[in-house]
């Protein structure tokens, strides 16, 4: 018996893309939440390595593919230093908070000035690291975008 090829039309294909996109972001943010929750609960690096690798690989692919196509984001903040400076606050605050919670709740240490300063310094390092990375990516994006926009027409 001859197998019939299963085809979908363009609208079904677009819907499938939308479904897959939602599925991807669900997996992405669920993995992110799992890493944060495990980190807060005191898990070590080995325990969060699986989700960490999934996040790292998918993030690297997203960054590479979007920059290659000259895309920064999907209607979010424009690629400016100010926007990057604001966005970098999110991981910085999260990293500082996770460290603080781990020290206080998991390691059962009292809240001292040293602990607070360490958490603050960690948040600061995360902030600078994130901002630096975003600024490098912004420079790559601008360069790539300029190259794509400057490509000559076939008729030129």
């Amino acid at each position: 018996m001859k197998d019939q090829k299963y085809n979908i039309d363009e609208m079904q294909e677009r819907r499938l893309f939308q479904i897959e996109e939602i599925g991807f972001w669900l997996t992405f943010w669920a993995s992110g939440a799992a890493v944060v929750i495990q980190a807060v609960l005191g898990a070590d690096l080995k325990q969060i390595a699986g989700e960490g690798i999934v996040l790292l690989v998918s993030s690297a692919y997203l960054v590479f593919a979007t920059l290659r196509n000259g895309i920064w984001n999907k209607g979010g903040p424009a690629p400016t230093f100010r926007a990057n400076a604001l966005v970098s606050l999110i991981p910085a605050v999260m990293c500082g908070a996770i460290l603080l919670i781990r020290v206080l709740a998991v390691l059962k240490r009292p809240l001292t000035l040293g602990v607070a300063v360490t958490a603050l310094a960690f948040a600061g390092v995360c902030y600078l690291g994130c901002l630096g990375l975003l600024e490098i990516l912004r420079a790559v994006y601008r360069k790539r975008r300029a190259k794509l926009d400057d490509e000559e027409d076939e008729t030129a």
Partner: protein, 78 residues
């Protein structure tokens, strides 16, 4: 994104040829669900699909998908 309204022109052109939504969908090579979504204005088809629908119904792009205010001179015949 510009919202698209219901496409009554396709429905009228179908009626002229005595075609059901299912028959048109089969002739064009899409599902009935897709053809229904196009007529309801829930799906904005690609230019390739628009052209196929025009060919099957024997109409121009302007006649089926053109804006009401458009000038006659901009008609594209297939």
């Amino acid at each position: 994104m510009i919202p698209i309204g219901r496409n009554l022109k396709i429905k009228a052109a179908r009626a002229e040829r005595d075609m059901t939504q299912k028959a048109l969908a089969e002739a064009v090579g899409v599902s009935r669900q897709t053809m229904n979504a196009i007529e309801q204005g829930d799906y904005n088809p690609t230019i390739r699909l628009c052209r196929t629908i025009c060919k099957v119904l024997g109409k121009t792009l302007d006649e089926l998908f053109g804006e009401e205010e458009e000038h006659e001179g901009s008609k594209v015949q297939y």
